[in-house]
Symmetry: C2
C-alpha cells in the first residue's frame, strides 16, 4: 500500500479534524471536491482509515486520575491468558491493555475519577480477576503529549 503526497496530507488533515467538509479539504489540497471524496472513500475501503470518533475531554467528565499498571500472571497456560485478556477488556476503566516484553506481562492504562476510585478499582475490580500474580502501579502526574495521529 502506497500513498502519494496528497494522500499523506489528507490523512494528516483528517486525523486532526474529521469534521472538515470535502470543500475545505479540496481547498487545502488543491483538488476538486469529488477527487477528495474518492480519495477518502479509497482510504476507508482500504482500511487505512478505520473509523471516525469524537474525543471527550476526560476532566470535563470527572475522570482526572490516570494510572499505569504493570501486571504479572501467576501462570501462562493458554486458557488463563485468554481469560485474563477477556476480563480485562471488559473493564471500562481500562482504556488500553498491552501484552509486553520485560519483567511484567501486561501494561494497562486505567482511567478513573480519583485516587479513591483507583483504590476501589484495584481492590474490587482488577484483582478479582484470577491468576494475577503481582502488580505495580504508577500514577500520571502530567500528560505531556497525547495524540491519536500517526505520521504516515
Amino acid at each position: 500500500m502506497t500513498f502519494d503526497a496528497i494522500d499523506q496530507k489528507l490523512i494528516h488533515l483528517l486525523q486532526r479534524d474529521s469534521k472538515q467538509t470535502n470543500k475545505e479539504l479540496s481547498n487545502k489540497l488543491n483538488l476538486s471536491v469529488t477527487a477528495v471524496y474518492e480519495r477518502i472513500k479509497k482510504l476507508e475501503n482500504q482500511g487505512v482509515i478505520s473509523r471516525y470518533v469524537a474525543l471527550v475531554n476526560k476532566e470535563k467528565v470527572d475522570k482526572s486520575f490516570v494510572a499505569f499498571c504493570h501486571i504479572k500472571l501467576t501462570q501462562h497456560a493458554q486458557d488463563y491468558v485468554v481469560k485474563f485478556e477477556k476480563e480485562v477488556t471488559n473493564l471500562q476503566e481500562v482504556l488500553e491493555c498491552y501484552h509486553i516484553s520485560g519483567d511484567y506481562d501486561y501494561l494497562l492504562k486505567v482511567l478513573v475519577k480519583d485516587m479513591e476510585a483507583f483504590r476501589e478499582f484495584m481492590v474490587n475490580r482488577l484483582t478479582k480477576i484470577n491468576h494475577i500474580g503481582s502488580t505495580h502501579s504508577m500514577f500520571m502526574i502530567n500528560e505531556v503529549k497525547h495524540t491519536t495521529a500517526i505520521t504516515v
Copy 2:
C-alpha cells in the same frame, strides 16, 4: 457539569462513530433531529467533546512496532524539564508522553516501523535530547485493548 441518560448515550455513540447522521442518532435516542443537534452543540460548547478525528490503522501505514520507554532525567531543574518535554513533544514517533510517579520520571509510547527503526529512533532521536539519565524500554507483543472512548 451534569449529564442525563440521553447525554450519556449520545456521548457513548459519538465516541464510537462520529460519522453517524443526526437522523440516525435521533432514532437511537428517540429524539428529533433538532434535539440531537442542540445536545451535540451544547457538548461541543462545553468542551466535553473536544474534537472529531479519523483513526488510522497503524499496520496499514507500516507502523507495527510499539515500544514503551521509561525515562529518568539526570537533573530536575525547571528549565531542563521544560526543555525535555518540549523536545519529546516534537518527536513524531512519540504518540504519548506522561510524567509519572515511581522510579522513572516519564513513560513514552513510541510507534515506529520495526525494531530497526526503533533502534534508530533511540540512538539518533531520543537520546539526542539532553539530560536523559537512564532509559528502560519494553516492547509490545500484542495490543489486547485500545479505546479512545471514556465511560461517562
